[in-house]
């Protein structure tokens, strides 16, 4: 059994989902839904890749991850401070990867 303290486990997601509903109980409906996708051509990424000739993006997942992490933190900070969308009471963020394949399951009994 994977406990809810393990990030990404079924229980962990379930607890987070319930937390979300608790926020909704207090503050009502969320008003905006936004997605933030990594841009592989950010100058920071391209510049760091150029250090080693012939390097390609998939060779250096660490660069993409770090740059995306920094940008995402900045975006969330902009949201929290009210700079992006005006005063904000609550914010919930789940970082995902766009999976190379995405399967929807149909169960046939």
């Amino acid at each position: 059994m994977l406990p809810s303290s393990y990030p990404g486990s079924r229980r962990n997601l379930n607890q987070n989902y319930h937390d979300c509903l608790a926020i909704t109980r207090v503050y009502g409906c969320p008003t905006l839904f936004t997605t933030f996708t990594c841009n592989a051509n950010w100058p920071e990424v391209e510049e760091a890749l150029r250090c080693e000739p012939g390097q390609k993006l998939p060779d250096r997942a660490d660069i993409t991850s770090r740059v995306f992490h920094m940008k995402l933190q900045e975006y969330i900070e902009d949201i929290r401070s009210g700079e992006a969308y005006g005063p904000v009471t609550a914010c919930e963020n789940l970082r995902l990867h766009h999976f190379v394949f995405y399967l929807l399951i149909k169960q046939t009994v």
Partner: protein, 370 residues
Amino acid sequence: MFVVADTIEFQKRGLPHAHILIWQADSDREPSAAFVDQFIFAELPDPKEDPLGFVLVQEFMMHGPCGDINPNCPCMKDGKCSKRFPKTFQDKTTFDADGFPIYRRRDTGVMAQKNGVDLDNRWVVLHNLGILKKFQAHINVEACNQSYLIKYLFKYCHKGADAARLGVAPHSSATGDTDPNNSSGVDEIAEYIKSRYLSWCEAVWRLFGFEIHEKFPAVERLHVHLLGMNIVALSEEDDLEGVVDDPDSSKSTLTEWFVANQRFPAARKYTYCEFPNYYTWNNKNKTWEGRRRGTKIGRLRFIHPGVGDAFYLRMLLMVVRGALSYADVRTYEGIVYNTFREACQAHGLIGDDSEWTSLFDEAIRWASPF
């Protein structure tokens, strides 16, 4: 029973992607067209007036092209675009019968080029121009102030990784275990490791220990349990007798709530659920302390109605203020009841079948089929 892959969508090259839900401060009011227009844009800026904005929208926020021009676009399903592009032109933002916004897309004649195809405002993905200029990435923004959408949205945010995991685990059905909640026959850890797909980017993200989920304000998960039935976490090396003898082992957020009510008379006007707004839980010392800054939302952990008295205890904890002991929770108008159920009855929380009706109503709102 077999698990069948229904649809396969090829998404981006495994690049990281975040979903964010925002509660704006004045979110009580009905969304108005002016409010939506303030934050959300669905039009190409004029290339003469705003060349940077135009280039960025052209590069990041144009859908497709799909449809007859490009039938192999990943959004195409049964010959139609699943995202319903191209949209129709709209002179101003309106709302449909369900309160769903139809965003402003004027026919301005501005055209953007993507993959050699000219696209107009009907093909623009919803975005915020200021944010787009700052971050220069695909950032989609949508209004979602509809209560019936909450469940869908939260599900969408919290089930993404799981869906991929289930998709590559056809063998779990071979054991004949059809109930996903019945974990007795399934080695969850093995399933998790064997059937998980990690993209290169996610692997590195996890190695760095970056968080995959964040929210504010934080939510305090409050334990509900009968006397002496609290959960005690221990590691493999722990001396069991030592754990049993440790007085801290019997302490939980609930038992210490009773203690805090004795220590701070001012705390007695709050219910257990409201309590974390004003007091913080110190998990190391296992005590509640006065809150100095910030705010936190309390949430009582779910208890299955089948477990009996603990379920009624949870029900009481939603309404009882400043209880000093379990007996105090069971007390109503000076009478100490023998069971939490009887106390619930005295409170008028139950009596007929109304508890089951309310239980079903609650379940509709949050329960999930998987």
